[in-house]
Amino acid sequence: MVKDELKVGWSKIQLASRVAQDLEDGWFVNLGIGIPTLVADVIPEGREIILHSENGLLGLGPKPAPGEEDMDLVNAGKEPITLKPGGSFFSQSDSFAMIRGGHLDAAVLGAFQVSMYGDLASWKVPNDPLGRVGGAMDLTVGAKRVFLCMQHCTKKGESKIVEECTYPLTAPRCVDRIYTDLAVIDVTNDGLVVQELAPGVTFKYLQERTAAPLKDLADQLVKGESIQH
């Protein structure tokens, strides 16, 4: 893979904001650990999005002010958070009934790898005796939409978007849309379609850093091909 010389693309908080733009008023959304957690802080003004935390909370609010932390009020990353008016607490069984039962409009998750078919690997690196599955497998089979929010490449510069995952799968064929620091990419029946490029990123630049074939939305539209999920 090509090593980045120039700083292009979105910062982590810009990436979180880009994801937040696509969350619709009235949606129930679960945010995974890592960059997805930042989405909670950048929900567009005036939009009511109810955040779900799988440890048993609906109506997650922003981080508390320093000194106001309550270790009985935490998110799935075990960090102190706040509860919005209208929020509620419930047990793990209820929390995963919401998840598995298809009641959440979207899950925003991190990833180690995602394939061009939407297979997700996010819980274990090969040969790790442990693995950290948490709620990831339930979220990927249960949420109505699975959005990934991640760096495009690993710290070593390897593409996280691949033809076939080599890491253990979280779930096959589950990802709908991939948000990275470089682009917004849809997983469609016709393959990976680039919806939007981050500032300073060209299609060629993106393809060079992506280990799976990409299609340009503009080309698709010119050719008049229909793009279906």
């Binding site: 935390s53 009985d72 419930f90 793990q92 069984s93 995963f96 005796p129 599955v133 799968l169």
Partner: protein, 231 residues
């Protein structure tokens, strides 16, 4: 008169036998019955099978039992954290067996155990390493895996307030695995901040009903400790 309160936490865990299966509530440090765990470290029962969501997130959780060589098997969803080193060492030398269960599947296995359901199908983990080798069946065109219920000999639960009968209310996200685990053990032991008289808890707020709770231990607050120490 019903009296589930144990004045002495050591007595509340005294009969836990070697080889027992123990359900431990909590999500990281939140809602973790850490005083009961400390009492069991002291008590010393061995070859335990411990079911708990997080292992190694905090030092006073199940990690303390592992470090004290009391555990032969762990069933959890997230065996990762700053205090997981002793678990990793014991996995490597074969002293501990680890079964990873997806979090929702873990919760449902315990719910099933407490509800008299021996097994169930779930789409979670189908086509993955965690579903490999399990019985499968297709429902509505989708592959599901068969998961078996979990029950415990004992459950350790953390609640906020209890009444004398053992009804429990929780504080915020401290609830997590506690209500479901309370249903699935032969003996459920709850550590709580306060025990009030029957009738004082709002019946609309009781999240764990007294039928599930067998023993109560009231935690001594720092202020009460001071009073005790100073006579």
């Amino acid at each position: 008169m019903i009296q589930k309160k144990f004045e002495n936490i050591a007595k509340a865990v005294a009969d836990i036998h070697d080889g027992a299966t123990l359900l431990v509530g909590g999500f990281g440090g939140s809602g973790l019955p850490s005083h009961l765990i400390a009492a069991l470290v002291e008590q010393g029962a061995k070859n335990l099978t411990v079911v708990s969501n997080n292992i190694g997130a905090v030092s006073d959780g199940v990690a303390a039992l592992i470090s004290n060589n009391q555990v032969k098997k762990i069933i959890c969803s997230f065996p990762v954290g700053p205090h997981a080193d002793d678990l990793i060492a014991r996995l490597q030398n074969g002293a501990i067996e680890l079964e990873i269960s997806p979090q929702g599947t873990l919760a449902e296995r315990i719910r099933a155990g407490g509800s008299g359901i021996p097994a169930f199908y779930t789409p979670t983990a189908a086509h993955t390493e965690l579903g490999a080798g399990k019985e499968t069946r297709v429902f509505n065109g989708r592959l599901h895996v068969l998961e078996y219920a979990i029950t415990g000999d004992y459950a350790f639960i953390k609640g906020h307030r209890a009444d004398r009968w053992g009804n429990l209310v929780y504080n915020k996200t401290q609830r997590n695995f506690n209500p479901v685990m309370a249903t699935a053990a032969r003996i459920t032991i709850a550590e709580v901040d306060e025990i009030v008289e029957v009738g004082e808890l709002d019946p609309e707020n009781i999240a764990t009903q007294s039928v599930y709770v067998h023993r109560l231990v009231k935690l001594v607050t720092l202020r009460e400790e001071e009073v005790l120490a100073n006579g």
